[in-house]
Symmetry: C2
Amino acid sequence: MNVEPSWDFYRSFITVLKQGSLSAAARELGLTQPTIGRHIDALEGAVGAQLFIRSSNGLLPTDIALDLQPYAETLATTVNAFLRTGSSRRDKVEGTVRISASEVIGIEVLPPIIADLQEAYPLLQVELSASDTLEDLMNREADIAVRMAEPQQDALLIRRIGDIPLGFHAHRRYLERHGTPQTMAELSDHRIIGFDRQTAYIRMMRRLYPAVDELAASFRTSNHLAHLAGIRAGIGIGICQTGLARPGSDLVHILADEFDIPLGTWVAMHESLKTSPRCRVTFDALVKGLLNYIKSCKETRA
Amino acid sequence: MNVEPSWDFYRSFITVLKQGSLSAAARELGLTQPTIGRHIDALEGAVGAQLFIRSSNGLLPTDIALDLQPYAETLATTVNAFLRTGSSRRDKVEGTVRISASEVIGIEVLPPIIADLQEAYPLLQVELSASDTLEDLMNREADIAVRMAEPQQDALLIRRIGDIPLGFHAHRRYLERHGTPQTMAELSDHRIIGFDRQTAYIRMMRRLYPAVDELAASFRTSNHLAHLAGIRAGIGIGICQTGLARPGSDLVHILADEFDIPLGTWVAMHESLKTSPRCRVTFDALVKGLLNYIKSCKETRA
DNA sequence: TCATCGATATACATAATTGTATGAACGTCG
DNA sequence: CGACGTTCATACAATTATGTATATCGATGA
């Protein structure tokens, strides 16, 4: 309790947690097994609790260690961010920029936008964190975030893109076999792909279209990509962005006039990053690319 | 570029930034000035840029160092959170819990709630981060947050408290001198305390009461506490929570029937913390306390 | 059943980090 | 204007952390 433990201990901790053994962690860090072992010992002494159960085939984390894992991960990503921003020259468009977005946006929408961006700036590295759960919002774990809700913090440079239209979709094949519902009421005769988890969007849907909520889902997932994959595989009818039903995709937008809850979209970055050319350029490219995407959504719809 | 720099360097970096000199940083960390100097040298080598300009009366941070400051601060707070979580026993209500809230809530509303909580659990330490700007949302920099907007992330345990009523207020003394306006239109004859910065609330007010936006403010501040202090000092008419106009405060709620934009309030914490008794207990106390507060707001109003 | 491979733990030598002591530069104050 | 109290920089000694080598335990497979 006398002196604060070395911050290197946390690095050893997270590596052991990831690798599952002192030896493997030592290899990854370029250190040796006794050293890592001593680090863990010291950390256990500092928190006054056992973090791992040693066994002859590795280290098993205790509950306490698992509680501490997210903190250690934050440390690791922040160290990365530190080095990344520190070592990129501030006057040129080069270095790494890290983008955070939802899985669907990150995987279905952003890649072509990023491709164009890197065509224009070959030295620009892009790191994409596509995740629904962590949503590592702006705590400098990401430089720029694409968000489906208005960011609340001040000190952010925020640009509203518009509304991404969502709607019921099904694969052409499914509709050929089961018919195309013409009214919301007919949905109850179909296989529905449902959501597992409560999100703000689902709560809003529930409020505006209570009927949808009572539909029995034959396939339910909390993962939006799995939901989309279900639609594409012809499992049944689900909800996705209308822009994904582009020509050649075999997805059909149904009940277009019966159901409409747009999904607000924002791009945000720290105000302090607006002087960094690489962040600025990426921010502008995302705004422009997403505006185009929304435009194409509306066209698909008409 | 061969091996990752020691994480201790970041600790030295943030301490030098805070203290302004190698010597002072060394004193704080219990190390010596040459050691800290070597750490800074090593970090500069790692990022390939100068971080400080050395002078005989301290170290002056370069722009790059200032860019890196927020990352280093995140590291420091996360390390604190790590040790705090790690060293508090999981089965008892003791240890430290860190609450994040806006300045007004943190200073005007929470203290009595926290007092009651600590009366019930004497071993519980509470750390309150009252800040509008940083809004260190949930990235484990705070255990529990009181927020004025619905948190968007999943994996959060969220409880909606209700709406805190806001309204125009002035000090009794001011009204005795200048009269009490009976309609919104009469506001233009009064001294108005205005806001400096755009927030979600101000944008909404602008939309619902465009007339308010055109009032010329004779005292303008971006700090909500300063705004409140202005009202209390009798500078003029401003907006604050109606609950602050309790008996004995000499604040008078005016135009109560003309103006009404409630401020939604939520309490949120990480789902993973709900097994921790001290977080659980604090969460419940905040919910209960804030519900009471809102109730008392409504009574003041009637 | 025994050999092998991987794991952790310990003892000792080594290398790296840190501390001590000192010098030089700058600002402040009497 | 000079003494004093800061600061950072450098050279050398001491300490600490790390690496090497080895022992031990346990799981796996021929």
